[in-house]
């Protein structure tokens, strides 16, 4: 069965939807307005080279760019009950699911893989916003639990790349129940003393932030990511006030104690590799052994203007590889 899921289906799918030339060869940066050739973006992990704006990245691209040499073994995900509410809004939920599966080539919003990062074995899980806004339903919840259980079984650190609009409305309260269910899996990681690192990406909102996405031993966010529980529009309408600039963005969360650091996408591998190596008490990676102590790790890549020269360079220098690659 797994073999059919993992090998046959993707093959059929890739045969059916041959990789077409994208509609837009040029992508406009939403921040600076500059036009970037999509191949350049792809090569730069979907970070706009000029403005440093972090665009959304597809789940599989994320895993491939995260693991050493792009090599990982995808974890096969269990089947879950299909549309138990027989839900219908403007469209039947089952049709919506089918459309999204065809569009993304994924079964649901969550993918996971096991591979190496700077030589350390890790299980990483990613939510793909392209699949129904990365929403958390039974399939996504079960996938996260499955991935965490694999980390538990193999005694490996776990990295979660969160991106989600929140709970999947089409599954009603069954989707709400994924909050405590995934939390059980997080607790089991903690009890087994396995590091759990969360990377919040743009956007991570709603119920997802009220469960596994905020329970990491280490909380990292990508620059400029929208992270929050209640949507800005809902808050504005409730309190009838204009919200401050940068509200619910990663820098704001960092200043409010919710994050350990804001890290440029290009530096995630180094930081997470370091952290995992230290927390699992592995010998220092050769990459760091050959180099002098690397100051500035984990600094706020988003805002170099907070820089204070002098003694503080060590603590807040911008990451050296910010524009490498």
């Amino acid at each position: 069965m797994n073999w059919i899921n993992n090998v046959v289906r993707p093959k059929i799918r890739s045969f059916l939807n041959k990789k077409e030339t994208p509609d837009n060869l040029w992508v406009k940066c939403p921040v600076s307005g500059e036009m970037v050739f999509y191949k350049d973006l792809e090569a730069n992990q979907w970070v706009v080279p000029g403005s440093g704006h972090h665009m959304r990245i597809k789940g599989r691209d994320r895993l491939a760019s995260f693991f050493d040499g792009g090599v990982y073994e995808e974890i096969s995900m269990p089947e879950v009950a299909h549309d138990p509410l027989k839900f219908r809004d403007t469209k039947r939920y089952s049709d919506r699911l089918r459309d999204n599966r065809n569009k993304t080539g994924m079964e649901d919003a969550v993918l996971a893989g096991e591979g190496h990062v700077l030589g350390h074995k890790i299980v990483a899980c990613v939510q793909d916003f392209d699949f129904m806004g990365g929403s958390l339903g039974m399939a996504a919840g079960e996938a996260i639990i499955t991935a965490m259980d694999q980390a538990l079984a193999h005694k490996l650190p776990f990295v979660m790349f969160a991106a989600s609009g929140g709970a999947r409305m089409q599954e009603g309260v069954l989707s709400l129940m994924q909050l405590p269910r995934t939390t059980v899996a997080v607790q089991r990681l903690r009890e087994a003393h396995l590091p759990y690192i969360v990377v919040l990406t743009n956007p991570t909102t709603g119920g997802v932030t009220a469960s596994y996405a905020m329970l990491g031993d280490v909380q990292i966010a990508e620059p400029g990511a929208l992270i929050g529980f209640a949507g800005a529009r809902v808050i504005e309408q409730t309190i009838r006030e204009k919200l401050p600039e940068g509200f619910q963005r990663s820098k704001y969360l960092h200043e409010h104690g919710m994050l350990d650091m804001v890290v440029h996408r290009h530096n995630l591998r180094d930081i997470i590799g370091s952290l995992v190596g230290i927390l699992t008490k592995q010998p220092m990676s050769e990459q760091f052994a050959s180099k002098p102590p690397k100051p500035g790790l984990g600094s706020d890549a988003e805002d170099p203007s907070t820089d204070v020269s002098g003694d503080d360079d060590l603590l807040i220098a911008p990451p050296e590889a910010a524009h490498a690659e």
Partner: protein, 318 residues
């Protein structure tokens, strides 16, 4: 630029003369200055040694607060590799006065935390002059919790005049945060070592200095309140800080005698700010010796050792 403390005036004058002479030498006006220079230099060195051999507690306080003294970030830069700072209390804010993170000491994983005073006007404001708020102590407790879970020893560097006194800090439970952090220190099943490198100011210090081994730099001070604070409470005059500094017994030598600290790290004449590397290397050696000694001890033993140590304080003075 070396800045001089009041009581270092004779040294400053000699140093001034030396510099003048050197300038003359550069212009080629003076002929035989080498001998004179040498003589002046050795006089300056002797004067410095004399002064530092008999520092009063109040003078020590000034050395402990010297702006050029090595700070938390200097120790981390010198002793820790692969440094990954972690921030935030996950409740309210990020406190730049108390810095925490993980890294490697001699290649081995360690958790590191400490108060940072900053060393330029801008960075001092950013670090709130080393006075932490509840967020700082809650972050420290969080990092200790992680260190304990992942079986990683904890090193702390203390340099604070005290926890920040402010309305917000009180509202958010400054006292509770300090109490919890101290409690977390005592709970640790992993060994912890604390070094008072500058000022060890009261509760703000003890929150991260309740350790299996507590060391002090020779010119550091450690007390229940700053000399100024003590003077204003007991003499009702902050100007009596000099007297308070002496009366309160705040120097490393005094605290060794009382059994409050486990050891003292010597500073060469002239203080840590004139011999940064030497002092930081010596500190590193002490940390290495401690970690070596405590490696292999069971979690119960480590915890029991710490508890017994603090319960025993004061008993020997009867």
């Amino acid at each position: 630029m070396q800045s001089y403390l009041d009581f270092e005036k004779p040294v400053a004058e000699l140093q001034g003369k030396i510099e003048e002479l050197q300038k003359l030498g550069d212009t080629g006006e003076a002929v035989e200055i080498d001998e004179e220079l040498e003589r002046l230099q050795s006089r300056a060195e002797n004067a410095l040694a004399d002064i530092y051999a008999k520092l009063t507690p109040w003078q020590r306080t000034q050395v402990a607060r010297h702006p050029q003294r090595p700070h938390f970030s200097d120790y981390v830069g010198h002793l820790i590799s692969e440094w990954v700072p972690l921030s935030g209390d996950r409740k309210f804010g990020e406190d730049h006065a108390l810095i925490t993170g993980f890294g490697r000491f001699n290649g081995e994983p360690v958790a590191v935390m400490g108060t940072e005073k900053g060393s330029s006007t801008k960075s001092r404001i950013k670090h709130n002059f080393g006075s932490a708020r509840p967020e700082g102590y809650r972050k420290a407790a969080r990092i200790m919790d992680m260190a304990d879970r992942f079986d990683i020893p904890v090193i702390s560097f203390v340099d604070t005049s005290g926890a920040y006194p402010g309305v917000g800090a009180e509202e958010r439970g400054q006292a509770e945060a300090i109490a919890r952090s101290t409690e977390k220190c005592l709970e640790l099943g992993v060994p912890n070592i604390s070094i008072i490198v500058g000022e060890g100011g009261s509760g703000g210090a003890i929150a991260i200095a309740t350790a299996n081994r507590v060391l002090m730099l020779q010119n550091a001070i450690y007390s229940v309140i700053s000399p100024e604070g003590g003077a204003s409470i007991l003499w009702r005059d902050a100007g009596k800080a000099k007297e308070a500094a002496t009366a309160m017994k705040i120097t490393a030598e005094d605290l060794m005698e009382f059994g409050i600290i486990d050891g003292m790290i010597k500073e060469p004449a002239g203080g840590a700010h004139r011999h940064m590397e030497t002092v930081m290397d010596a500190t590193g050696k002490e940390i290495a010796a401690f970690l070596e000694e405590f490696s292999g001890k069971s979690r119960e033993d480590v915890r029991e050792h710490r508890r017994e140590k603090f319960l025993a304080i004061g008993k020997s003075l009867m």
